[in-house]
Symmetry: C2
Subunit: 136 residues, 2 copies
C-alpha cells in the first residue's frame, strides 16, 4: 500500500491540500481545484491518492453528515486540536483547547478507550448560529 512511484498526480494532490491547509475539501472539490490549476486529475486517482495519504498520516479524512472531507494534517501528533461542525450553517471549525487533552487522557486511563482526535468530530451550534436561534 506504500507509495512506490512518485507521480505528478500524487504531488499535485498533496500540494493542493497543503496550500489549503486549515480548510476541508471534498474529493470532488479537490479534483475541480486541480483542474482549475491547469492540472486535471481523474476523480478515481484523487480517491486513490487520498486513501494512501490518509494511511501515511499526511492528511485527515473527516466523515460528516454531509459527506467526507479531506484536510492537510499539520500536527500529526497533536492531541489538543479538535474539529467542530455547526449543524445549522454547516461550517467546520478548529479549536485548540487543553481541556480536550485532559478528557482524552481520562478516557484512556479510566475507560481504556484511545481517542483519535484527527477523526473525531463534534456537532453542535456555533456562536453565530446559537445567537440566531435565541433571536428566533
Amino acid at each position: 500500500m506504500a507509495i512506490r512511484y512518485n507521480t505528478k498526480q500524487q504531488k499535485a494532490v498533496l500540494s493542493c491540500l497543503e496550500k489549503g491547509r486549515g480548510a476541508s475539501v471534498t474529493a470532488c472539490e479537490l479534483m475541480e481545484r486541480l483542474r482549475g490549476e491547469g492540472f486535471p486529475v481523474g476523480l478515481t486517482t484523487v480517491y486513490r491518492q487520498l486513501e494512501k495519504l490518509e494511511m501515511q498520516g499526511l492528511i485527515h479524512r473527516i466523515t460528516t453528515d454531509e459527506g467526507s472531507f479531506y484536510q492537510y494534517c499539520d500536527h500529526p501528533e497533536q492531541g489538543d486540536c479538535f474539529l467542530l461542525k455547526c449543524e445549522r450553517c454547516g461550517r467546520l471549525e478548529h479549536l485548540d483547547c487543553s481541556h480536550l487533552k485532559s478528557l482524552y487522557d481520562h478516557l484512556a486511563e479510566e475507560h481504556r478507550f484511545i481517542i483519535n482526535p484527527r477523526k473525531t468530530l463534534f456537532y453542535g451550534l456555533c456562536e453565530i448560529c446559537s445567537q440566531k436561534e435565541d433571536a428566533e
Copy 2:
C-alpha cells in the same frame, strides 16, 4: 414536516427502534427487522419516517465512516452520555462520563460552541483492539 397522520408504518418504525434501544441500526437493517416481524415496510418509507422522527427528537441519526445509523433516543436532555466508535472493530459503544459534561460546559462558556451530544461521535480504539495493537 410534522406528522399529521398516524399510520401503522410510522408506529412500527418507532416501536422497532424503541425495542432495540441502546443499539444502532441502519435504515436497511430496520426494514429487514420489520419484515422479519411480519410487517414489511418500504425502504423509502423507512427513510421518510426516520427523517421525521429525528426532527421530532425521538431518535438520533449517527453519521459514521461506514454509513448512517439510527437509534432510539432515551434521554433527550442528557448531556453526559456519549458515543464511541472503534476504528478497528467498528463497534459502537456508549459511555456515561461526567467528565464529558464539564468539557461541554467549558466549550459553551469559553468557546461559545454548544455541543450536541446526541450526534457527536468519538473515533478511536476500544480496549480490546488497543490490546491487540500492542500485541502486534
